[in-house]
Structures are given as structure tokens and as C-alpha cells.
Symmetry: C2
Subunit: 215 residues, 2 copies
DNA sequence: GAGCTTCTTTATCGATCGATCGAATTCGTC
DNA sequence: GACGAATTCGATCGATCGATAAAGAAGCTC
């Protein structure tokens, strides 16, 4: 009895499948970010990926499974952009010196500026209760929320930063960092170019000053 | 020749029409804020308003006209909540003392906390280019953008506030003020109650400190 | 209360939605 | 190069979308 006898016949995944799958993921990110889950159509996603609509149900089980895969895809890009700017100590407590937090703010602003689709999807989903919101909160939001609020609490205990509640700080910081890029289409109509390096860098410095104070 | 001869026959508007119209407006605000323009269905709006779907096309010309009326409806509520916190001088230059700006920030936070639907709709529309975005920017966003950035510029010239670019400040302030309420469903899953008076007041004070500095 | 207008309701149109099926095609392996 | 699995493609299902038409009910004027 060989190993292949006891197992199901091995699937031979082909390269073209991975290519189609990735194209669908990137297209789904764009469409979901632009029109929301309900507003995005599987046909528009397939067309943007230069393939046909039934491919979605072949490579993913449903529109919702495609959405989840696209969100995972986006968050992995975020982690790659953020890198290791907020290291954790050996006891899982975040290392939160003032300098580390400032670097985190700058890196966060640069990351959300380059991944506007992520916060667009977050805001579209966080707006109303849904199974998708519960999924994304437990899988992605809560660990990051815990990390940032924990870092702020330990930093606040040193007394060198404003005494702002950590949940207030979380939403103020994330909102202040992301809106210009979430609303990039609006900003351009107002004469602002939020994607420019000048804006992003000024934005990062402004947030460091606002959050950590003028020390 | 009487006056009625030359004019079209006067329409006799009935009270029940105004009632239906208002119910549709309130329902549309909720549905558009929760699901976006594409995701909101006219049948769901009509059901929430306890009426029938064709009433939308009777009282408004189309789904899009209903959306515009709902947005106007929301912004008039915002103006009512904001009141006269940022008065303008006789030459149309905003009166922007530090105290006036601080009061504006506090009033703004309270207002967006009580009107989360407005920023939800704004964020859903500002995400992608569309005729609706152009309409809302010219009609509602641009004048408010000009007022706030103008006030910040004059205030910054006095030198007593951080030297932050006015467009950076606009998106940082609006984003920091609104995200907790836009994402209220998410916040509740994270154990935060952004609607509570305690949160809103702490949030307002935190933003005043962050934006105007610790003077 | 007769007669006309305003408003509401029911029924239905063509278009598009997500999903599924089966045939056609391509790929990897022997 | 032949066989079988993996993938792509064309067609179509029932459901739902926004919008419209026409009938019915209610309100106002004289």
C-alpha cells in the first residue's frame, strides 16, 4: 500500500490557475473598495481581471469567499508595508518608547496612503452590522486594536504624552491617518493631491506632533 | 383674465404627501448610510418608510434624486447642530480665535457623533468618482472645506498653534472626529461605546488638545 | 355630494444580479 | 501523442433591481 493509495488523487494545480486567481483578487480589491460588497458585481470583477464571471465560483466558493480572500490579501500587503515598526517585548507587551511610537505613526500614514483600498473596505463594512464585519473584526481588527491601544497605555504611563484615553486615541489616529486617502477622489476635486510625497510626509509629521505633543 | 388663467392650475399638496415624503427621506438616509447608493434598494427604503416602492418615483424623480434630497436633508440637520460656532467677520473672513476654534472642534465632534449617517454617506461616495461625488462636493463639501481651511490659516498666522498645512489639518480633523461614529458597529464589537456622552466629551477634549496644542 | 386632483396601490416591464451546469479547451503525465 | 485531470468558456437559471403604467382610494373645492 503506497501513500497515494490511501489519499485522494493529488490535484495538479496549474500555473494559469494561480494567475487567474491573483488577477481576480486584485480586481476584487478595486471593485469592493470602490462600490462596497453589495455594489460590486462579480461580472465587473471578472471583466477587470480579464476573465469570465464563472471563474469566481470556480476559484472561490462564492462572492463572499472572494471578498474574504481579497481582504486577507490586502492585510498581508499592509503587514508587509508596516514591517516591524512596533516590536513587542518578550512578555508580549509592546515596546512603546516615544521614538518607536513616532516611527509607527509615520509608517502607518505611509502605509494607508499606499493602500487606500483597505480602509475603504473597512469603512464600508464597519458601517453596518453583518457577518462580514464580525469576521473582519475578529480576524484582523481586534489584534491590531489591542496592539495599538496597549502600546499607547504603556506609553501614557510614562507621562510624557497627552493623557488621552486609548480607545479615543485609536479612532482619532486611524481616522486622521486614513481619511485623506480613503476620500482621495473627493480631495482631488478640492484641489488636494493626497498621494503626493509632499502631502504624505507633511501628514505624517503633523500626526506625530498632534498625537505625541510638541516635546 | 384672472391670474389663474395665465398660470398652470395650482397644485393642492396634501398633508399625507409630506408625511410620506419625510418618511422616505429618513428611511433613505438610513439605507444609503448602511449599504451605499448601489447597495441600498428602493424596496428596502420604502419598506422602512412603511410605504410602497413606487412612491419613491412619485415623490422624487428617481433613486438618485431621492439620494440628493436625503443628503440635503442630512446637511440641514448638521447645520442645525453646528449652529453659529464659527462666525464669519464682516469681510467674510472667519473669526478664528483659539477659543472659537476650540469651541468649533467640540461642537463638530458632538455633531458628527449624533449624525453618523452623514459621514457614512460621505465616505461611501468620496471613495470613487461619480456624478454624485461631484454634486456633493460642489454643493456641500467645498464651502465647508474653504471655511475650515481659511479659519485655520488665519489662526496659524497668529503663531499660537502648530504650523500644520491647512489641507492636512482638514482631513486629519474630520477623519479623527468622525471615524469612531462612522464605524460605530465595529467599535461596539471592540468593546467601545462611541455614542456614550463620556466617549464623545473625552473625544472632543482630546481633539482640542491634539489640534491646538497644550497651551 | 359632484367632480376633479392628489396620492396610494397593484401589477409588470426589461435589465442585471450571483450561481450553476455542461461542453470545450488546455495542461501535465505516462 | 494519448489519456485524464484541471481550467476555461458559453448558456441559462431564479431572484431582485429601478422604473413605469394603470387602476383604485382619498382629499379638496365648489
Amino acid at each position: 500500500m503506497t501513500t497515494s493509495d490511501a489519499l485522494a488523487a493529488p490535484r495538479r494545480r496549474q500555473a494559469r490557475a494561480d494567475s487567474t486567481r491573483l488577477a481576480l483578487l486584485d480586481a476584487a480589491v478595486q471593485e469592493f473598495a470602490a462600490h462596497g460588497f453589495d455594489g460590486a458585481s462579480t461580472r465587473a470583477i471578472a471583466a477587470r481581471a480579464a476573465t469570465h464571471q464563472p471563474q469566481i465560483n470556480y476559484h472561490f466558493e462564492s462572492k463572499e469567499a472572494l471578498w474574504r480572500a481579497a481582504v486577507d490579501h490586502l492585510f498581508s500587503k499592509l503587514d508587509a508595508l508596516l514591517g516591524e515598526v512596533m516590536p513587542q517585548g518578550p512578555d508580549d507587551r509592546p515596546v512603546a518608547s516615544r521614538e518607536v511610537f513616532a516611527a509607527t505613526i509615520r509608517a502607518f500614514v505611509r502605509a494607508v496612503a499606499r493602500l487606500p483600498e483597505l480602509n475603504r473596505i473597512m469603512v464600508q463594512e464597519a458601517t453596518a452590522d453583518s457577518p462580514r464585519l464580525a469576521w473582519i473584526v475578529e480576524r484582523h481588527t481586534r489584534p491590531r486594536f489591542a496592539l495599538l491601544t496597549g502600546a499607547w497605555r504603556t506609553l501614557r504611563e510614562t507621562g510624557s504624552v497627552p493623557g488621552i484615553d486609548e480607545t479615543v486615541l485609536y479612532y482619532s489616529m486611524v481616522g486622521a491617518a486614513s481619511l485623506a486617502y480613503v476620500n482621495a477622489a473627493e480631495a482631488r476635486l478640492l484641489g488636494v493631491d493626497p498621494i503626493s510625497d509632499a502631502f504624505v510626509e507633511a501628514h505624517g509629521e503633523a500626526l506625530v506632533t498632534m498625537i505625541l505633543g510638541p516635546d
